[in-house]
């Protein structure tokens, strides 16, 4: 049997037991194992903490190193960039230096070159300056010389002129003297004549006076001859005879007996159509102006061509021979020249050039002056010796002069113009002493010839309508109109013995009027 314990005791016992159990548990479980585990883990922990510390330290170091590295690398980058830039700059500078050096050497060379050139140029310049001076001096010399020469020249010319003038004066004196002598001669002649007349014996001893007869105004035609084919441009009577000479388009010159109206001779040799005829005063030679730029001189008796006068460059439209000398021939051609020929020599001795073409020429009676009628309507007088223009008269205003005829006495010259007027000029004064015209009278061509009657009372001219008009000079009016030609009348001629009157037309028909 055991003692009955109180509840409380039981309780406390149980509690004590529980506590003891707890303690035992503690000892067995955590009390035993705890320290062991701790002991095991301490080194690990410590190591771990050591490692951790180390790791942390290393990490911080590493971070610092990284930072430092990054900083350094940044710096490095900057430095590298800078260095590159510097290098580039350096290279640039170097190359610049090189180029500058080159430039410098170039410049130096150029400079030295230029200096050399300059020196050369200076030398040359000095040389030239000296030469210049020399030349200037020479020039001045020359100028002086020239001046002297000019002065001398002038002086010489003056002297020469003086000489000439003196010569001319002498000549003039001589001429005057001569003229005076001639006058005296004439005067003496006239005295003789006067004495003769006073004697009551009329002696017509003037030259050519034996043949003087009154001119008869023709009324009708006596003969009508077909003289030339193609036209007859020129007819004339032999001096103081009734023999007619005609020249035509057919290049022949025919001699007619106007009493019978028959052909007596034919002259051949002209190479062109006959534009004008002239006969020497002795009736031995006939001169024809031809469209072949030549003049032909025939000897009538032999019928042969004695001269062919060449020199004109265009058709010869007018010819006349000197009444005195029979040696001088004047011709006018459409090459604006008037030529004077010497038949004895056989060539041209003088050529007058004038701008206006001459249609008709005539010698003055004394053979010293040539009358020429021009296209510009002027009548001109030329001195045969010098060829100089003596005077000029407007014969037909603005109309060409077509014909010049000198009267038998030599005092009056008849001009016909394209203005259908016929003027009479006094030779000495060259004043118009009469103008003849007719309503139906039209000058046919530039070379239509009119003529004066030998007694200087009448003027005959042909017309384009084929009729012949005859004026009386004193009446200044038509006295007769002769119609027979069918073509325009080109030329006419009054025989020196007063009759007949002959005319030729474009058809080559020659009418003899009596």
């Amino acid at each position: 049997m055991f003692a009955f314990r109180s509840q409380e005791e039981i309780a406390r016992e149980a509690i004590k037991h529980a506590l003891k159990a707890l303690r035992r548990r503690h000892l067995v479980e955590e009390g035993a194992h705890g320290p062991a585990l701790i002991a095991l883990s301490i080194p690990i922990i410590s190591q771990g903490s050591e490692w951790k510390e180390k790791a942390e330290n290393l990490e911080t170091e590493l971070q610092q190193c990284y930072k430092a590295q990054s900083r350094l690398s940044e710096q490095l980058v900057v430095e590298v960039a800078e260095s590159r830039a510097s290098k580039a700059l350096l290279k640039e500078n170097e190359s610049q230096i090189v180029s500058l050096q080159e430039e410098l050497t170039q410049s130096r060379d150029e400079c030295s070159q230029l200096k050399a050139d300059l020196e050369e140029k200076i030398e040359a310049l000095e040389l030239i300056v000296s030469e210049n001076h020399q030349i200037r001096a020479q020039l001045e010399e020359m100028i002086a010389k020239a001046k002297n020469a000019e002065a001398e020249n002038k002086m010489l010319i003056d002297r020469w002129m003086l000489q000439k003038m003196e010569d001319a004066e002498r000549l003039n004196e001589a001429n005057a003297l001569y003229g005076h002598l001639i006058d005296q001669l004439k005067a003496s002649g006239l005295e003789k004549l006067a004495r003769q007349q006073v004697d009551g014996v009329v002696r017509r001893s003037e030259e050519g006076a034996e043949f003087f007869m009154d001119s008869i105004v023709p009324t009708s035609y006596k003969h009508k001859i077909n003289a030339h084919e193609g036209g007859c441009a020129s007819i004339l009577f032999e001096y103081n005879s009734s023999k007619l000479v005609s020249g035509g388009q057919d290049r022949s010159i025919k001699l007619w007996d106007t009493n019978t109206g028959t052909l007596s001779n034919t002259l051949y040799g002209c190479l062109g159509s006959v534009l004008d005829l002239s006969i020497t005063h002795d009736n031995r030679s006939v001169i024809a102006a031809s469209s072949s730029n030549n003049l032909y001189v025939w000897d009538i008796q032999s019928g042969r061509v004695r001269h062919t006068l060449t020199g004109h460059t265009d058709k010869v439209c007018a010819v006349d021979v000197s009444k005195i000398s029979s040696r001088h021939v004047v011709s006018a051609a459409y090459d604006r020249t008037i030529k004077v020929w010497d038949l004895q020599k056989g060539y041209c001795t003088n050529t007058i050039i004038f701008h206006s073409n001459c249609n008709s020429v005539a010698f003055s009676t004394d053979g010293q002056t040539i009358f020429s009628g021009h296209i510009d309507g002027n009548l001109r007088l030329w001195d045969i010796q010098t060829g100089k223009l003596l005077s000029e008269v407007a014969a037909h205003s603005l109309a060409a002069v077509t014909s010049i005829s000198v009267s038998r006495s030599g005092n009056i010259v008849l001009t016909s113009g394209r203005d259908n007027m016929h003027n009479l000029f006094d030779i000495r004064s060259l004043e118009v002493c009469g103008t003849l015209r007719a309503s139906g009278n039209r000058v046919a061509s530039n070379w239509s010839r009119s003529c004066i009657s030998p007694d200087e009372n009448y003027v005959a001219a042909g017309s384009a309508d084929g009729s012949m008009y005859i004026w009386s000079i004193s009446k200044a009016d038509i006295v007769s109109t002769l119609k027979e030609h069918t073509g325009s009348v080109l030329c006419c001629s009054w025989s020196g013995i007063g009759k007949p009157l002959a005319s030729a037309d474009k058809n080559g028909v020659v009418c003899i009027w009596a």
């Binding site: 055991f2 009955f4 314990r5 509840q7 409380e8 039981i10 309780a11 406390r12 016992e13 149980a14 509690i15 037991h17 529980a18 506590l19 003891k20 159990a21 707890l22 303690r23 035992r24 548990r25 503690h26 067995v28 479980e29 955590e30 035993a32 194992h33 705890g34 585990l37 095991l40």
Partner: protein, 352 residues
């Protein structure tokens, strides 16, 4: 205090093996030796365990779970309780296998980490408060910092910090003339003002064994949770004149079906020097035992031959006549629950 200190300091040595299915290194990593606090929870050990095995793990996300001899361990149960329950013969160190992959979602509630454990703890606390006070206002009105500190004190095993916070909860202690009164002035005033003799939150883990055994080492292995029944019933302490409420009374109140009028508990031989006491105590209760035995024999049909073999609280097997109030005040877990492990022999396993 002394007992409470023992309770808070208690730690189980664990030898944790990485389960062979998850070993990817050769040689396999050695097991980790860890002291796991009894009042703590297994998932909280991940910080200690992970470093040992992290290098040997196969690739993937870590989902931590433990198993003991193939049985996945419930994580919301305190470590001490698990040990007491599953190891009839305490195995020191306790060999567990740890898994980091392949969480058996069909067997275990998912655990996302420390926070899940914390919320489970708080939940238990609320449950306890409700049982004790009839409401859990004081838990829900706890400030954030108090919550954090409370949990931290549990994790760190800091009993003073815990008591500072828990005293604010006014969950009271059972009047108990046997315990050493706490000495802090504030706590004293609190507890004296809040002494209740009310309902006690209890979690009872009953392991049924079909065969009788004499020695703990003969206890057959528990291979499924089906063999264990969880009973969450509060116990009301009845004060009887002249008699204090014993542990035995509590168990009887919890498992009336295992006791007819009187139960007979055959205490296994205990280690240590209390052996002497036992016979005396046994002697004092021998009548009761006999009665129980008789009762048992007589009422075998009614109680289906249940015999409570082992009662374990906090790793100790207290005498059944220990005042229950002392047990509650000294051996309860921080969540204000008293976890009791029971080994019961049942003739046939069909009984509930």
């Amino acid at each position: 205090m002394e007992a409470q200190n023992y309770v808070w300091e208690g730690a189980i040595p664990l030898q944790i093996h990485l389960h062979e299915s998850e070993v990817t290194t050769f040689p396999p990593p050695p097991p980790a030796l860890i002291l796991a606090p009894r009042i703590g929870y297994l998932p909280l050990l991940i910080a200690l365990i992970k470093p040992y095995f992290s290098s040997a793990l196969p690739p993937g996300v870590d989902t931590l779970w433990f198993d003991y001899k193939g049985l996945p361990l419930k994580w919301y149960t305190p470590t001490g309780v698990l040990f007491d329950l599953l190891c009839a013969e305490p195995e020191r160190p306790w060999n567990l296998s740890v898994h980091f992959r392949g969480y058996p979602a069909n067997k275990l509630i998912p655990c996302e980490g420390e926070d899940a454990v914390k919320w489970s703890f708080i939940n238990s606390l609320k449950e306890a408060a409700y049982i004790i006070n009839g409401n859990c206002k004081n838990i829900m009105n706890m400030s954030q910092s108090d919550q954090v500190e409370l949990w931290r004190s549990v994790m760190n095993g800091n009993v003073e910090a815990y008591q500072r916070v828990s005293s604010k909860l006014k969950l009271g202690t059972v009047e108990d003339e046997y315990s050493v009164k706490p000495q802090q002035g504030t706590c004293e005033t609190d507890t004296t003002g809040q002494v209740k003799t009310g309902r006690i939150p209890i979690r009872l883990y009953v392991c049924r064994v079909s065969e009788d055994f004499d020695d703990v080492e003969d206890v057959p292995k528990i291979d499924s949770w089906g063999k264990i029944s969880f009973i969450n019933r509060p116990v009301e302490i009845h004060k009887e004149e002249g008699k204090y409420f014993t542990l035995h009374d509590a168990i009887k109140a919890l498992l009336p079906e295992f006791f007819s009028e009187k139960t007979l508990i055959e205490s296994p031989s205990q280690e240590g020097e209390d052996k002497n006491n036992i016979p005396s105590e046994d002697a004092s209760d021998s009548k009761a035992e006999e009665v129980v035995n008789v009762c048992n024999d007589v009422e075998a049909s009614s109680t289906s031959n249940a015999e409570i073999k082992i009662v374990r609280i906090q790793g100790i097997e207290p005498k059944l006549e220990i005042p229950f109030s002392w047990v509650v005040n000294n051996l309860m877990n921080p969540d204000y629950f008293l976890h009791i492990c029971l080994y019961v022999k049942v003739a046939n396993l069909n009984t509930a």
